[in-house]
């Protein structure tokens, strides 16, 4: 499509009207447009400024979220020390445990979360464990447990005696030896 160049004095609405009045109308229209443009420009500027203030710097660093949130979540303190920490100071335990049936049971599975003890072994002492309460958490009889897993009816099995009367927790098979 081609647009023919407007010819001077023909076809334009305002030129059809007479003299001074037409010139004034044209001026008024221009001012309206200028005001509207000004309002839009102010709005756009306000949007850009407010957005820059409200949106955190790291937003969009990796995706549609605050990038620094990742580091904040990663900064949460650790409560379980992990068996590697335990084994640096207590190497005699894995030496026995890893030969027995409890080889894959990590320290804190029974002893509880001990990151505080690992950080400050002098003042934070791990709680003493009661085998009569602890062992049945895994070894009480239940029809949904895998068949090969050793499970007992505690009353029938030991009549209330503490488990460590006969079994050594770090190497539980009777007669297998090792530290209690």
């Amino acid at each position: 499509m081609t647009i023919e160049p407007a010819q001077e004095g023909s076809g334009r609405v305002e030129d059809r009207a007479d003299g001074d009045g037409a010139a004034m109308n044209r001026f008024k229209d221009a001012e309206h447009l200028f005001r509207v443009a000004l309002v839009f420009a102010a709005g756009a500027l306000a949007f850009v400024v407010v957005r820059a203030i409200l949106v955190p710097k790291s937003f969009g660093e990796y995706g549609h979220y605050r990038g620094t949130a990742i580091a904040e979540i990663a900064a949460q303190p650790v409560v379980f020390a992990g068996h590697e920490s335990c084994e640096t100071c207590h190497p005699e335990v894995p030496a026995v445990k890893n030969k027995g049936k409890h080889a894959k049971v990590n320290c804190e599975a029974c002893h509880g979360a001990l990151a505080k003890h690992a950080e400050d072994p002098g003042t934070v002492e791990p709680a003493k464990l009661e085998t009569a309460v602890l062992c049945v958490k895994c070894h009480s009889k239940n029809g949904a447990k895998p068949e090969g897993f050793p499970q007992v009816d505690a009353k029938e099995h030991s009549a209330g005696l503490a488990c460590d009367t006969c079994h050594k927790p770090h190497s539980p098979v009777i007669g297998a030896g090792g530290k209690p």
Binding site: S58, F59, Y62, H64, R66, A69, C110, A113, A144
Partner: protein
Amino acid sequence: MNMSRRQVLLLLPAAAVAWESILAGTPEASPNYKLTEHWWGMLVDISKCIGCGNCVRACATENNVPEGYFRTWVERYHVSDFNQAEPVVDSPDGGKEGFPPMLEEGGKNFFVPKMCNHCADSPCTQVCPVGATFISPDGVVLVDKQYCIGCRYCIQACPYGCRFLNPKTETAEKCTLCYHRITKGLTTACCEACPTGARQLADLKNPSDPIHEFLRTHAVQVLKPHMATGAKLYYNGLDGSVR
């Protein structure tokens, strides 16, 4: 130093990029941890789970999970021989203190530990209206507590029921795959506390991770595969009746 106007103009964009990178800083908490070098998931071996509840207790201790809410929990399934499509499922207190003896006799009985599946195409992050929940570059679905407005869309969107609204903070909460631990080279609290090795943290981008050998040699399944969530919680020995 003599530089023409043209040389200065050519150097300006490079200077701007350098300045931006200085402003951005380095957000990673662990200096040796690189976000792009990991892709986390987990392996659950149902044949090893004894329903002791150690994982549930460990998770609550490690992450300060409010009483009565669970980031991970254990379900007990009883599938009768005659109605395999409708299993009887119980999970007293999320299995936190273990399970009472079975009431039903016979059939097929087993435990299923559950938690966030850390989906690669997670429905929960797609519905968040404010960008408060996201998949990190290393494949963990996380919640930005500062940004969460507590609208609960994500809780409804999760097909696995893994999210809840923390009653104190009024923000959505879920398993972080112990993000504060795995970025320091530790395993998750639930894996650390599991006495039978039924749970294994897996780094799918690490070629020497035993997960690859395991996935190759076992019939492994994810929950609700028809929903195409890209779940990364792999179950070995998953029964068809598990929902």
